[in-house]
C-alpha cells in the first residue's frame, strides 16, 4: 500500500528541536519566563511541547508577542517533574521545542469590538500574546478590560507590566486576590467579582477566558448575567497532553482533541461536554 505523505515535519511529529535559552527571568516564587531563540510565526493562545533531556515533555503556552518572531517566550510554573526541570534551566542551556500547536484567540473576530479578558494565576501567560497583539494594533479594538485574579499579591504574574498596559496600551487592568497577604490595598475576592466593574461593554464584548475549570464555569455564568451572549465567549482548556498531534488520545473532551481543536474554543462548541463532570 502506498500512502501519500502529508505534513510530517520532523520537529512537530518527531523529536523536539533544541532551542537555546537566551535568558531566564523569575516572575514569582515558582514562575519563571524563558526567552528562547525565535521559532517563527505563531498565533496568540498557541502552545509548544517543551522537552527536557531525559526528563519529559509538557505543553506550555507561548507567552510573548506574536509580532516578535526573533524570540520565543514561555512562562512556566514549577509544579512537578518536568516543569521543575524547565524552571531550573539556565541561560545558555537548551530546551527541546515542538510546535506551535493548536488554535488561537479570535483576534480577527474581535476586531472593532470591546474585549474582556478574564483569567487567573498562570492563565495570564497564554493571554499575554493577545494583550500584546491588541496593544500593537490598538486602533483595531474598542475598550479592553483585563480582569485578573491571583491567590496572593506575590503570585500575580507580570505585575511590573500592568502600568504600561494601562498607560501606553489603554487597557483597563483590574486585579483581585483571594488572600491579601502583605502590602495589598486592592480588591480581595474571586475574579468574577470584577465583572460588574469592567468598563468594556460586556453585553457586546468578545470574552477570552483562561484559568482553572471552576473559574471558567463561574466566569461564563457571570458574563451571562451581564447579558453576554455565549456566542462571544472563547475559553482555553487544559487536558493531559502527550503528543500535540492528535495521536495519543489523552486530551479528549467528548469528540474534541484539545491539542488540535483547542486549546482555544468557542465556548458554545464545547459547552455540551465542558458543562458535565468528569468528561
Amino acid at each position: 500500500m502506498t500512502i501519500a505523505t502529508k505534513q510530517n515535519l520532523e520537529s512537530i511529529v518527531g523529536a523536539p528541536r533544541p532551542a537555546k535559552i537566551l535568558s531566564v527571568d523569575r516572575n514569582t516564587d515558582d514562575v519563571w519566563t524563558l526567552r528562547l531563540e525565535g521559532q517563527g510565526a505563531f498565533g496568540p493562545g498557541q502552545f509548544n511541547m517543551l522537552y527536557v533531556l531525559g526528563v519529559g515533555e509538557v505543553p506550555i503556552s507561548i507567552s510573548g508577542s506574536p509580532g516578535k518572531t526573533d524570540e520565543l517566550l514561555h512562562t512556566v510554573r514549577g509544579v512537578g517533574g518536568v516543569t521543575n526541570a524547565i524552571t531550573s534551566l539556565k541561560a545558555g542551556q537548551s530546551v527541546g521545542v515542538r510546535g506551535p500547536f493548536g488554535t488561537s484567540w479570535p483576534m480577527a473576530a474581535a476586531k472593532g469590538r470591546d474585549v474582556v479578558i478574564v483569567t487567573g494565576g498562570i492563565g495570564l501567560a497564554p493571554l499575554r500574546p493577545a494583550i500584546y497583539h491588541i496593544i500593537e494594533n490598538r486602533a483595531d479594538y474598542g475598550k479592553v478590560s483585563l480582569l485578573y485574579g491571583a491567590r496572593t499579591p506575590k503570585e500575580m504574574l507580570y505585575a511590573d507590566e500592568f502600568d504600561s498596559w494601562r498607560e501606553t496600551g489603554d487597557i483597563e487592568v483590574l486585579t483581585t486576590v483571594d488572600a491579601a497577604i502583605g502590602a495589598w490595598d486592592g480588591d480581595v475576592g474571586v475574579v468574577t467579582t470584577l465583572i460588574p466593574r469592567a468598563s468594556a461593554d460586556i453585553s457586546d464584548a468578545v470574552a477570552m477566558i483562561c484559568g482553572p475549570e471552576v473559574m471558567t464555569r463561574f466566569t461564563v455564568a457571570g458574563l451571562a448575567e451581564r447579558n453576554q451572549s455565549k456566542d462571544n465567549i472563547y475559553v482555553s482548556l487544559e487536558r493531559n497532553m502527550k503528543c500535540g498531534t492528535a495521536h495519543c488520545g489523552h486530551c479528549q473532551l467528548g469528540p474534541k482533541f484539545v491539542c488540535k481543536d483547542g486549546p482555544v474554543f468557542k465556548f458554545t462548541d464545547v459547552a455540551h461536554w465542558f458543562e458535565k463532570r468528569e468528561v
Binding site: 500512502i3 510530517n8 523529536a15 523536539p16 537555546k20 503528543c243 498531534t245 492528535a246 495521536h247 468528569e278
Partner: protein, 368 residues
Amino acid sequence: MSTVMDVQAVYTLIDSLKSDGYEVVGPRLRDKALGYVAGTNGSDLPAGLGDDQSPGNYRTRDRGDGALFGFRSSPQSWRRWIFPPNAEVWSARRDNDSFVVDTSAPDSMKVAVIGARACDVAALTIQDKVFLDGQFQDPAYKARRENLLIVAVNCSLDADSNTCFCASMGTGPRVQAGHDIALTEIIEGDKHYFVADAQTDEGSRILEGISGAPAGTDEVAAADSAISNVADSMGRKVDADGLPELMNESYESPRWTVVGERCLSCTSCTMVCPTCFCTNIEDSGDLNGVATRTRSWDSCFTLRHSHIHGGAIRNTNKARYRQWAIHKMGTWQEQFGTSGCVGCGRCITWCPSGIDITEEVTAIREEA
C-alpha cells in the same frame, strides 16, 4: 475472478510469501489460545481447532473438521505489527549545553498477515484515519503500513458467532476493503477448499503463482451462502442507527453508574480492542546523558490518562467506562467519520466482569 485452492495451496501461498521476503504472521495455538504469531509455516496453522467465547470466557476446542481458519476473534488482533505495544521512538544524547537527537530509520520489514478477519482489517483502516489521515502523519506507522500485505479470511464456518457482532457494525463477516487477498474456507462433507479473490495488484501477482482452478458458480455460491449464513445467525447486535447522537446525549444516564459498579478499570477491553489508539509517552535518561523516548499502548481506564496538575479529570470507574463506550460508539464518528467499534467482541470475551457493550448500548437506547 475467483480461484479455488486446496489446503496444500494455502501452504504454498505461505511459502511464496516467505520467498518474496515477507515475515508471515498467522494464527497458531499458543498459551491455550488461537492468536497471531510471526514466523508462520503452513504446519503452524491451527488445523481442526476452534474456540468458544462468552462474556468473560474463552476456551479452545477440537472442531473435528480440519478447518485451517476455524477460530473466532483472537485474544488480540495482529495490529501490533503495525502499531507496536511498546516502541522506542527516538533517542537523544547530551551535547555540551544542548542535545542531539538520533531518529532511527523507519521499519522496512515486509509483513504479511495470513488469516486476518474482516473486523480486524476494518479496524486497521480505522487506525489509518488516526495515524495517516489527520493533520499530522505518524511516520513509523506509515512505514509499517506501506510494507503490509493482508491475506484475509472471511468468516464462513461458525454459524454461532459467540461474542462477535460485526454484521451490525457493517464490517463483516465478509472482508470489505484494505486487504490484498480474500479467502473463504468451505468444508462440505469430504470436500475442503478455499475460494480466493485478489483485491490488489500485489495480491493478483501472488495468487498467480499458486496452483488453483477458476472457481465454478457452485463454489462461489457456496462461499457466498456460508458467509451470509454467519451474518444472519449472529446473536449479538448493536442497533447502529443514530448511535453517535444517542451516545452523545447519554452522559447523564443512570446506566453509567450501574455499569461503573461492575467495571474494575482493569484496562483489558482497551488492550484487546483493535481500534484503540491511545498511547503513553515515556522519556527516560541515563547517567551518560543518553535519553530515550518510548511510546506504548495506553488506556483511558487508567487514572494517569487524564491526569493534570491538581488531579485526574476522570476519577471514577463510571467516568472512565463512559468515556470508553461513548468514544467507541459515539464521538469517534465526529472525529474520524466512522464508528470506533468494528464488533469483534473481544472486549466482551476478555472482560473479567463480563460487561457486554452491546447490552450497555441497548440499555441506553431503551432508556432514551
